[in-house]
């Protein structure tokens, strides 16, 4: 196993334990009933995927950089 792989596995074990321990005790500071602004379509990272995919493509074919253009999460958090 390479050194960096060992490092990442060793780091992830206590991090994972921390996550597992912390998951049940973290109380959301924005309650489900306080998400009216976040649920608004204007607060979405990607309101019209047909349009954002097209613009991402326009830039990617003409520029050298690629990737990390996505955004997930936010929204109403329902169900």
């Amino acid at each position: 196993m390479t050194k960096s792989r060992t490092v990442s596995l060793v780091l992830s074990a206590p991090l994972a334990a921390l996550l597992l321990a912390g998951c049940s005790s973290v109380e959301p500071w924005v309650k489900p009933y306080e998400r009216e602004h976040l649920a608004d379509p204007i607060m979405s990272f990607d309101r019209d995927p047909v349009s954002s995919t097209y613009l991402d493509h326009v830039f990617e074919v003409r520029e050298g950089a690629r990737g990390a253009t996505g955004g997930v999460g936010g929204g109403c958090g329902c169900n």
Partner: protein, 169 residues
Amino acid sequence: MKRNMIRTGALLLALNLTAAFPAAANSIVAGATAPAFQLSSAGGGALSLADLKGQVVLINFWASWCGPCRQEMPVLEQLYKKYKAGGFTLLGVNVEPKSADAASFLQSTPVSFPIVFDADSHVSKLYEVSGMPSTVIVDRKGTVRYVHHGYKPGEESEYLDQIRTLMRE
């Protein structure tokens, strides 16, 4: 190096998926007394939970910005119309700070069961609402008996069974 970081992220995600997540952290439990409250209603005036004692009450916390809540409203209306004669009532608690959006939703999708406005969220906090929508079914004595988080089409058959059970008591 970056690839290993992303692999670590994937490992963390995988571990999280196997972790036992509480379905709804700290929500009101069955067996507790339904907390009392009084809120202004859509029809004017105030409505309190105490007024409804002696009936089986389904309290539904909803908002016009919540897709599953909007989906659930016509279903709740049908439930209300069917059972209101037999000692059942429905109370829709709207959780929005400003009632304008709720009012325009109710104009396009009118319901006949009482709607009250919890603009400052104190009732949502009392009932520890931990998902949208949330449904709390209270028996004739004022005790919380069933709690539902979220809404998926078809879940109303569970509501039906639970309401019938409580109405028979």
